[in-house]
Subunit: 217 residues, 2 copies
Amino acid sequence: MKDKLLILSGGMDSVTMLYHYQKEIALALSFNYGANHNAKELAFAALHCQNLGIPHVVIDLEFMAQHFKSSLLEGADAIPEADYAEDNIKSTVVPFRNGIMLSIAAGLANSRGLQAVMLANHGGDHATYPDCRPGFISAMDAAIGAGTDSEVCVFAPYTGLSKSDIAKIGAELGIDYSLTWSCYKGQETHCGVCATCRERKQAMADAGIEDTTVYQA
Amino acid sequence: MKDKLLILSGGMDSVTMLYHYQKEIALALSFNYGANHNAKELAFAALHCQNLGIPHVVIDLEFMAQHFKSSLLEGADAIPEADYAEDNIKSTVVPFRNGIMLSIAAGLANSRGLQAVMLANHGGDHATYPDCRPGFISAMDAAIGAGTDSEVCVFAPYTGLSKSDIAKIGAELGIDYSLTWSCYKGQETHCGVCATCRERKQAMADAGIEDTTVYQA
């Protein structure tokens, strides 16, 4: 039944979820929140929705770039060139970003009579980003249920998977990951050295996918 | 200690909270979400922040008027002229509005090192608005705590009070309620017949305040 709204960035994880759950997704929702890589991501988000005939709404959250503190909002030079395990990667946290996105998604879903909001958070995000962890997802599900008279819930089926697990699902579904964007720097091509580029390479290698992404490094 | 962010609409309840907790409030945050009465409210919100020397940020959420379903977003004629007890008043619900506002407030508070977000929901709202009830407030507090590594919490000290109780606090503090806005229709003067106008009149009468609001009816 098509009763779900997916938060779609245009990265590997949410694009995989879009194809994986296409029969249940009535609407995809993307956000432009002023991150360096938003323009690159959003073009791919729109492309995949068009491919699948899934309606796509883009909401502008320009207040984040103006008022929020994160290296993700400060240009390519502010992005650490390191693995997620490094401590300086915490500068890429956008405070409560997933809470804001899930809340807006819940209000939009409720306005349209949809019953679930989907987020493609996964296990690899847990250490760095508090708003990707299982405890956050279940707490947000409870808050959205309480605030909508139980009309909307959160469905985040990749919470316990690794990015490599997700890439394996994508490989089975035949997804072309060259039509997704990861790099936090958001330049012409993927930098290849920021945390999310490193994770992207590793996940594709683990899943046995030929990585045709053009990397600078 | 000035470590809190208040969500300030410019209505009686949040203006009372602003004066009541002024020593703890580092920042007031208002939203323009396209409701009929936003312009009227926001002018008063700005006025009181200026009076008290409290910094004030206004964030535009124009996507709500564009994508969300509520009579509050559809012009004065869509507003029911009835008490909150009437069933048609549910048309004024803006889906998950307080969840969205608390989430954005939490992200902004965390960006600025503030430790709590305050909301002036009260007991009179509980029947109509699910996102004003005690269970929602405690669930949202848990979600914001989980999503910010326990750096931000929700503080909603009027949750158990009635609007009349709040008006009594305002009377003791000497607040001039003619410098607040309630009416959902958002016309030149208060209509006097919508649910929030009726509640405003009753609260001031209960608190023994002379109501100098100009009402159309």
